[in-house]
């Protein structure tokens, strides 16, 4: 991000902030939508994160660290939205769908519904690391900086997220395999 714009926005320049916010908004909404799996919650998280950036920008000491700092505010807003959603919505546990599958259940082409179900079963911590690394393409050290965790922890979360997703996908495939075997 342009550090001149960040400095101007730090000094209350609304034009500069408009530029920053316009550059971030689409990416923020897309990332938060993928973390939260709910567009309404993602819009709220994006709005809160952008407002936090405006409000707290004067407290950012090093404008060069704006990207990591702004993602941290987005992740924080996602956690708040997820927490509120947990309080007000019933806890729905998704069961594996017993629907016909392609003959090759171990195919590398995975049905997006399966991925959606598997991804939703991951914890928020794991989903966040996955989105930051595999969607926003942040290297693990930047993921760690964004989340204020050690790099090893970020790597571990990513590893267990993929393991968990694989287990969920395999679990989805199992009932169909049993039926195929009959």
């Amino acid at each position: 991000m342009d550090t001149d714009l960040v400095r101007l926005a730090q000094n209350g320049d609304k034009g500069a902030f408009t530029s920053l916010a316009a550059a971030l908004a689409d990416r923020f909404l897309a990332a938060s939508h993928r973390i939260l799996r709910d567009l309404g919650l993602a819009e709220d998280a994006t709005q809160q994160a952008l407002l936090s950036i405006w409000r707290d920008l004067p407290q950012l000491r090093d404008p060069a660290r704006f990207d990591a700092w702004s993602y941290r505010l987005l992740v924080r807003a996602c956690y708040v939205e997820a927490d509120q959603a947990r309080r007000w919505t019933p806890n729905i546990r998704l069961l594996p769908a017993d629907e016909p599958m392609a003959a090759d259940a171990m195919s590398t082409v995975v049905d997006r519904d399966q991925l959606e179900r598997g991804f939703r079963r991951l914890s928020l911590d794991h989903r966040t690391v996955v989105v930051l690394h595999h969607y926003l393409d942040l290297p693990l050290d930047q993921v760690a900086e964004t989340l204020a965790i050690p790099v090893g922890t970020a790597a571990s979360r990513l590893h267990y997220a993929v393991k968990g997703l694989r287990a969920a996908l395999d679990a989805d495939a199992r009932p169909t395999k049993r039926r195929d075997a009959q």
Binding site: L51, R55, Q59, E116
Partner: protein
């Protein structure tokens, strides 16, 4: 799913599918809200200079009192106690600012011109906005670019001369009286004593996977710069 690598590949592909999000509504809400949302002061600044605060306040108070005394003396008939009568003269102060304040930098370039110079077709959804500023204009929707430009109506030649001495500066002939491309991804244009800086956020960060980006950024800046220079 045979391996973790297969899962990762499928996951990446799924995450990058277009989910048709449109952040414009959220962005507009945020921009409306910041008008009534104050920024928080940097707490680390106040922590860093705790001892200066008291003395600084005292000095500021003393300065205010001194100015008040001087102004009062000047306002007395005869220009003060036994002083000679002075002829009022125009002084450059806030009046210069008020001259500039009447100027809208967005009048130098329309949002449609910026949009089309950036490769967009038709008319953009967002208008150019100076956000109440007399020296700044933002074009949020410029065909992939987020164009902003600053306008310095007075003393632009001095600022321009300083920038021209900097490292990595590239001359851009044919625009205004003089123009340069700065390594920070800005095109600075001088005309008379006025300077415009066109900022393309991200232009200062080279993208190894897209070697033509810098040339495209410069071409875009030159296209809008030529229009702006003609109206400066």
């Amino acid at each position: 799913m045979s391996t973790d690598r297969d899962v990762t590949r499928a996951l990446r592909s799924w995450l990058h599918e277009d989910a048709h999000e449109d952040a414009e509504r959220v962005l507009n809400l945020v921009l409306e809200e910041i008008d009534t949302t104050p920024q928080r002061r940097a707490a680390w600044l106040t922590r860093r200079f705790p001892l200066l605060t008291k003395s600084f306040r005292f000095a500021a108070l003393a300065a205010v009192i001194l100015v008040a005394v001087v102004v009062t003396i000047k306002l007395l008939p005869g220009g003060g106690i036994g002083g000679p009568t002075t002829t009022p003269t125009a002084k450059p102060s806030a009046s210069a600012a008020s001259t500039v304040a009447a100027f809208d930098p967005c009048s130098l370039l329309t949002a449609t011109e910026a949009f089309q110079a950036g490769g967009g077709t038709g008319v953009p959804n967002s208008k150019a906005s100076n956000q109440g500023s007399d020296w700044y204009c933002v074009f949020p929707e410029t065909g992939g670019y987020l164009l902003t430009f600053t306008y310095d109506a007075h003393g632009g030649a001095t600022a321009f001369a300083q920038q021209k001495k900097g490292p990595g500066v590239q001359a851009v002939p044919g625009i205004g009286d003089d123009a340069i491309w700065l390594p920070s991804g800005k095109l600075a244009i001088l005309k008379g004593d006025k300077e415009v800086q066109i900022t393309i956020p991200g232009a200062d960060q080279p993208n190894p996977s897209d070697p033509g980006k810098e040339a495209r950024d410069l071409a875009f800046a030159k296209a809008v710069g030529a229009i702006i220079a003609g109206r400066m």
